[in-house]
Amino acid sequence: MNYEIVPIASGACRVVLNGRADAAAVDGVEAGLIAGLRATGGHVVLDLAGVPFMGSLGIRLLIGIARLVGRRGDRMAMTGVQPQVLEVFETMALFDLIPHAPDQDAALVLLAG
């Protein structure tokens, strides 16, 4: 799994994750991704279109990011969640913590609301 942090409109940033978010992959990116996000500000739109698998450590990573972003007064939303990963998130009621939007524009509207 790899990631990219891309500045977008209104001071927000888009985080793009690509690849399987299994335990080993999450362990490989977690520290760098958290450090990268600490260096940014604004809301976060997390693009998961390239993530076909996510286990509990991946979910823990997402919650960790949401907590980091929340502590500085910003919010995070997800986009592009693949169907099977979406079912996992629904099973965990993750959308109660991190909202999901159909695309980046909708996510930004959601986060601004």
Binding site: D22, A23, A24, S56, I59
Partner: protein, 155 residues
């Protein structure tokens, strides 16, 4: 010992996360060849990930050194058994943590047991006389429209 038989698949498990991807590829290929649908394969992959990582994180530091995976499939369904020689632990009886408190910082993990229970159709745990934890997991095809929000696991 890693070999496929006509009756099923038997894989020795190295108790390290980086070795799990290769196991998952072997298991996924075995289940696909056996006619298991993508939905079943995905849930098997998810549950095996969680169950094996649970052994690695909790039993490994306390002495577990041997682990094995057995799999069988037929009529679109799969049965997976996981064994380890770590301390006795029943993942089907252990308390699970709801995700709802996580954002507020009440806890940071513990979601794996929840995923195991919600993604199997039946499960059995036994501690054998030889001191082995054995977890048997059954997976059957599910209609897509029942996958969300419906309690289907044993817990």
């Amino acid at each position: 010992m890693n070999h496929a038989t006509t009756g099923g698949l038997h894989l020795a498990l190295a108790l390290e996360a980086k070795a799990l991807a290769a196991i998952q590829r072997r298991l996924g290929a075995f289940l696909a060849e056996g006619g298991c649908a993508a939905d079943v394969r995905f849930r098997v992959e998810l549950v095996v990930e969680e169950a094996v990582m649970n052994v690695i994180r909790h039993a490994g530091p306390r002495g577990a050194g041997l682990a094995a995976l057995y799999a069988k499939c037929g009529a679109g369904s799969a049965m997976v058994a996981l064994e380890d020689d770590g301390p006795e632990f029943d993942p089907l009886a252990a308390p699970v943590r709801p995700v709802s408190g996580a954002l507020a910082g009440s806890h940071e993990g513990g979601f794996g047991l929840h995923l195991i229970r919600r993604n199997v159709d039946a499960a059995r745990y036994a501690r054998t006389a030889a001191g082995i934890n054995r977890l048997e997991l059954d997976f059957s095809p599910r209609p897509t429209d029942t996958l969300s929000g419906e309690e289907t696991g044993p817990g």
